[in-house]
């Protein structure tokens, strides 16, 4: 007995090969699973409870997957709806799904799984010692917890299995681990636990574990002893190297993967090529941990930002860009104190020199300013209000345009690419939790809601 899982791509909205999906459906999978979220694009999406991807693209892809599901009458799971997996994003995808169901004439049982947590509940858990820091966690206190704009807990397989047991056709989950979405069904049907989790990790980015990552579609077959992985696109292959290398991807530890309720240990996993395109893996272990814990994610408001961009083309200034930028910050800091009565700790003014060290900062060691044709001057101002950030940008404006390197030289005029020179970037957010929380039961706090449409 095996469980076959079709994974169309690493995330809804990223695209997949329609031909590869068609090929995958011919293999009679038991379920279609896809992830919808990540923290990888930064704290803004969780901070604002919004999605990174285009609604129109997601709708097109989701429609294809709903049709694929209907063809085989198998369950379809979307994990971490709308990038951040907040409750409103689950409802947003639910509305999209009901709309598409009407358009396609489908009658469906839809399960929604909510994973958002209330600040006061997290505060209580924190005071009760139920929240533990993970490695490199930021400092935490009750006041900080109260300020988070959104907190989500990453669901494990159990809430998903509850929805599968209720015979949901489509499961729309809030924040889940990428792997839980895929591991839920094979674990429910008694397949090898290590293989279920390990196979899920290998398949969670779709065809990333193959020679053709952009084609998306992967077929995972889990049984009582191990799993087999096979790409669905014509010409794509999985090799022991491409599959085992995926354990390194976005994992701090390549051998141990912490999941809700336990961890996966792949140190003894054996990867074998079954043929030119399929890889068989056995020997991975799942180790249950007690008590059951889930990881938490949260973001909070970190101020309001206004940015400016100028371009330096003058060789004299290119050669002395750092000195010039430091002088500009010093003058503007003094002016801000004089004119607005603000201390530097009350706001943040940064200059990033594009063409010098904008990407690497203090890690940059290559000096290229003598060769650069031009340098971009990116000014970032963050303050407690948008109005204040923009007021500071107006104060910076004349210096950014005209500041001479020394007092006894002509005033330069740099290139401003647009008017106004400043852009209001709005609210910005920061991640605040790298912690896990002890649960009384694996479904504690994850609400499953069923609807028939």
């Amino acid at each position: 007995m095996t469980v076959k899982i079709l994974v169309p791509s690493g995330v809804l909205g990223l695209g997949f090969s329609t031909d590869a999906l068609t090929t995958g459906l011919l293999r009679q999978p038991d379920i279609i699973c896809i992830d919808g979220g990540s923290t990888d694009s930064g704290p803004f999406y969780l901070g604002t409870a919004t999605s990174k991807y285009s609604d129109a693209i997601c709708r097109t892809e989701w429609k294809q997957l709903m049709k694929a599901r209907d063809q085989l009458k198998i369950p379809l799971i979307l994990g971490s709806c709308g990038t951040c997996g907040t409750d409103n994003m689950v409802d947003h995808i639910y509305d999209m799904t009901t709309d598409l169901a009407a358009e396609l004439g489908q009658n469906l049982t839809i399960a929604r799984i909510y994973a958002e947590r209330k600040n006061e509940d997290i505060c209580t858990a924190y005071r009760d010692g139920q929240i533990q820091p993970l490695a490199a966690a930021p400092p935490l206190d009750a006041e900080k917890i109260e300020r988070f704009s959104h907190i989500v807990s990453l669901a494990g397989v159990e809430p998903l299995q509850e929805a599968l047991q209720a015979e949901a056709d489509i499961i729309l989950a809030g924040r889940t681990t990428d792997t839980a979405v895929i591991a839920a069904l094979p674990l429910m049907r008694g397949m090898h636990p290590g293989a279920s989790w390990h196979g899920a990790k290998i398949a969670e980015c779709g065809a990333f574990c193959s020679s053709h990552p952009a084609t998306g579609v992967i077929l995972l077959e889990v049984d009582k002893d191990g799993f087999t992985v096979e790409p669905m696109a014509a010409g794509a292959v999985c090799t022991p190297h491409s599959v085992s290398a995926h354990m390194l991807y976005e994992n701090a530890d390549p051998f141990i993967l912490h999941e809700p309720g336990g961890y996966l240990d792949v140190r003894e996993a054996d990867y074998t090529a079954l043929d030119e395109r399929r890889v068989r893996v056995e020997g991975s272990h799942w180790v249950k941990t007690d008590p059951y814990t889930v990881k938490l994610e949260a973001a909070s408001l970190a101020g309001y930002q206004t940015s400016m961009l100028a371009v330096i083309r003058d060789t004299h200034y290119i050669r002395n860009a750092r000195i010039w930028a430091d002088k500009l910050v010093q003058i503007c800091t003094d002016k801000t104190r004089e004119a607005l009565g603000l201390h530097p700790k009350d706001y943040d003014l940064q200059i990033r020199l594009i063409g010098v060290d904008a990407a690497l900062g203090k890690w940059e060691q290559t000096i290229t300013t003598n060769k650069a044709v031009e340098i971009g001057v990116l000014v970032l101002i963050t303050a407690d209000s948008q109005a204040l950030a923009t007021e500071i940008s107006r104060l910076v404006n004349p210096y950014l345009l005209h500041l001479p390197l020394t007092d006894n030289e002509d005033m330069p005029t740099f290139a401003f690419p647009y008017s106004p020179a400043h852009s209001e970037r709005g609210a910005i957010y920061e991640f605040g939790l790298n912690h896990r929380m002890v649960l009384d039961s694996p479904t504690d706090g994850f609400t499953v809601k069923l609807d028939r449409v």
Partner: protein, 101 residues
């Protein structure tokens, strides 16, 4: 001295969650892998990136000829001071590490 990026290798780096960054050095041959295992230590990486050596996780993955490093992000992903949201430029800095011939 030889620049790491001039050897027969591929390097990639990426976030491992918002608080960690991880880099994988894929060696194409066993001699290159052995050479890097011997020369690229936590201390070398720590000195290069100005982070504490004891905060670095280092893995030798012989089956793949991969040397892997993970470090806590000095600037948390997306924080005001972060310059690279996805953490992929670290690989380019590591390629510039000089190792003894």
């Amino acid at each position: 001295m030889t620049r790491l990026g001039d050897l027969d290798i591929k390097i990639r780096s990426k976030n491992a969650g918002p608080f960690w960054i991880t880099a994988d050095i894929f060696c194409q041959t066993s001699p290159v892998y052995d050479r890097l295992c011997a020369s690229i230590t936590e201390h070398l990486i720590a000195a290069c990136l100005d982070v504490p050596a004891d905060s670095i996780m280092r893995f030798e993955i012989e089956k793949l000829y991969v040397l892997k490093f993970s470090i806590p992000r000095p600037d948390i992903q997306g924080s005001r001071t972060d310059r690279d949201m996805h953490g992929a430029q670290l690989a380019l800095r590591l390629a510039e590490i000089e190792i003894k011939d």
